[in-house]
């Protein structure tokens, strides 16, 4: 529930699963959001040195997440370990009285316990995509890492075909687009994907392509205005 003065900028905390600030994501979101926002950024891996980051690597049976360090390099981390780090971070942020906490990751997590109004992009993206019920028989889903194509949680009522292309390293958008060209609509299911990447996929696949960060930006407007 938001008891806000419409004119006062909402104090928001953007939380990446990697290291803050996400200079590759946050400005794009702010450009789309109409509600005045002040943003402070936090990361689950903030302050970690190389060894500590290495220790976050996924265990054999652990699902993986792909994210970015402060210097722009890609890192693959275990979902379970990340969930714990994020939960600790949220507990800390809960004391800061933000109007909204936005997670900058579309990964499918176990429910977090957060007292502050909290926006979880996976819910946003899945809800937007679920609106595409008719005619869209097959949904193309693009995730960063090849192994994530097996881990994808699925979206109710839609058959998904998966492909992968990392937003942070060696690009393979054209190949991925080719693999998804026979689907009805493609979702780029990671906050790291930019408009330029979307365009590349759309041009090769010649299908409508949805961008997660854009859906999240509009969901912020819906929730806080």
């Amino acid at each position: 529930m938001f008891f806000g003065d419409f004119l006062v900028a909402k104090r928001t905390a953007f939380v990446t699963i990697g290291q803050a600030p996400r200079s590759d994501v946050t400005p794009d979101i702010l450009a789309e959001v109409r509600t005045p926002l002040t943003v402070e950024e936090f990361g689950a891996l903030d302050g970690m040195d190389a060894d500590a980051v290495r220790a976050m690597a996924p265990d054999a049976d652990e699902e993986r997440l792909v994210t970015r360090l402060k210097d722009g390099t890609e890192v693959i981390i275990g979902k379970k370990k990340t969930q714990t780090r994020l939960q600790d971070l949220f507990a800390r942020l809960d004391k800061e009285n933000y109007d909204l906490i936005v997670l900058l990751c579309t990964g499918h997590f176990e429910p977090f316990s957060v007292k502050t109004p909290f926006l979880e992009p996976q819910l946003v993206v899945d809800n937007f995509v679920k609106g595409l019920s008719y005619g869209a028989k097959t949904l193309g889903v693009l995730v960063p890492n090849e192994k994530q194509t097996e881990e994808f949680h699925g979206i109710d009522g839609l058959d998904a075909k998966l492909s992968f292309a990392t937003p942070y390293g060696a690009p393979r958008f054209t190949e991925a687009a080719g693999e998804l060209a026979d689907t009805d609509v493609i979702v780029m299911h990671c906050m790291g994907y930019s408009e330029a990447m979307r365009r590349e996929v759309a041009e090769s696949a010649r299908r409508p392509v949805l961008l997660s960060r854009r859906m999240v930006a509009h969901a912020i407007d819906l929730l806080v205005s």
């Binding site: 109004p117 909290f118 809800n127 609106g131 009805d184 759309a202 409508p208 859906m215 930006a217 929730l223």
Partner: protein, 313 residues
């Protein structure tokens, strides 16, 4: 309005239509799409407004038009400013009734509404949906109920909201949806921009255009699902959870006492609580008194004070 059955375990939603409630042609399908049981009451902006008065407010030249349904099943075209005045009044009234969520289940109403209750405006969510996916490299077809709405939406800048030079509009006013679908052949995606369009119609258009079809109903249902998840995730604003988190000295609250406390926190009077739970006024008083005793508070104001004190770190 139409009353829902008493049950305090579920979220309470108020649906507001621009016509007259209940919209049995719209509400059940949207409720089905929410995919969880909720309690829903329906209100109409034009509830109780006499037919002659509605007829007097057909759109004048220069007015925007809204297309809606009256309680007798008749469809009318009315001036939007007339409807919006009544709608604002309805929102104000419903805002006082302690719902978890208000959903204006229509598109075409552009003005914002100030409400303390979380509120979903159908037009805004459909706009947000389109904006988040409409890209200038794909061709989007939009079906509006009325031909004149196509021109009005363009005039009011709706076409810039849909930032797509290749957007194409058709009207369901044409004799059949087939005709509208024919005009939209070759689109990558079709949006049926009115809650009047059913799933069956969407299926029909999908098979004719061979494109994915999105209806306003689905988009609004998605926004409702999302808002309900938000409410679940922000437990301190949910009266049920507030009660569960209260410190109890000794004996825990019974289920009935928790239900009564939840409604007290919703701001309901004992009389309304009795009606909602289907028990007598006297029984409510007894539950309330016992619960206050266990919680160590003396009044509803005191209860709220305790919760606020507890929330501040």
């Amino acid at each position: 309005m139409s009353q829902s059955e008493p049950d305090t375990g579920r979220h309470r939603i108020a649906f507001i239509t621009i016509g007259q409630a209940p919209r049995d042609d719209v509400a059940p399908e949207i409720l089905g799409m929410i995919e969880r049981p909720v309690l829903c009451d329906q209100y109409g902006a034009l509830d109780g407004v006499p037919a002659e008065e509605i007829a007097r407010h057909a759109p004048a030249p220069g007015d925007d038009s809204l297309y809606t349904r009256l309680a007798n099943g008749e469809h009318v075209i009315v001036s939007s400013s007339f409807v919006e005045g009544h709608l604002e009044e309805t929102v104000r009234r419903v805002d006082e009734a302690g719902y978890d969520l208000i959903a204006i289940i229509t598109t075409g109403v552009f003005r914002p509404f100030g409400a303390r209750t979380p509120l979903i405006n159908g037009q805004r969510v459909v706009d947000a949906w389109i904006e988040s996916l409409v890209m200038d490299d794909s061709r989007i077809g939009i079906i509006y109920p009325l031909k004149r709405q196509i021109a009005e939406r363009d005039l009011r800048g709706h076409a810039t909201t849909i930032r797509n030079p290749r957007a194409q509009a058709a009207s369901g006013e044409s004799r059949s949806l087939e005709e509208a679908a024919e005009q939209l052949k070759g689109c990558d995606l079709v949006l049926m921009h009115s809650v009047g369009y059913t799933e069956a119609m969407a299926q029909q258009v999908a098979s004719l255009t061979m494109a994915p079809v999105v209806t306003a109903r689905r988009v609004i249902a998605g926004a409702i699902r999302l808002q309900l998840m938000q409410i679940d995730e922000a437990p301190e604003v949910n009266p049920t959870n507030m009660v569960e988190r209260l410190p109890v000295n000794g004996e825990p609250l019974t289920r009935r006492e928790r239900e009564v406390m939840t409604l007290v926190l919703d701001g309901l009077s004992n009389k309304l609580i009795a009606r909602r739970l289907g028990i007598s006024y006297r029984t409510v008083e007894i539950h309330r008194g016992r619960a206050f005793g266990k919680l160590g508070v003396t009044s509803a104001a005191d209860l709220i004070r305790q919760i606020l004190l507890k929330r501040r770190p």
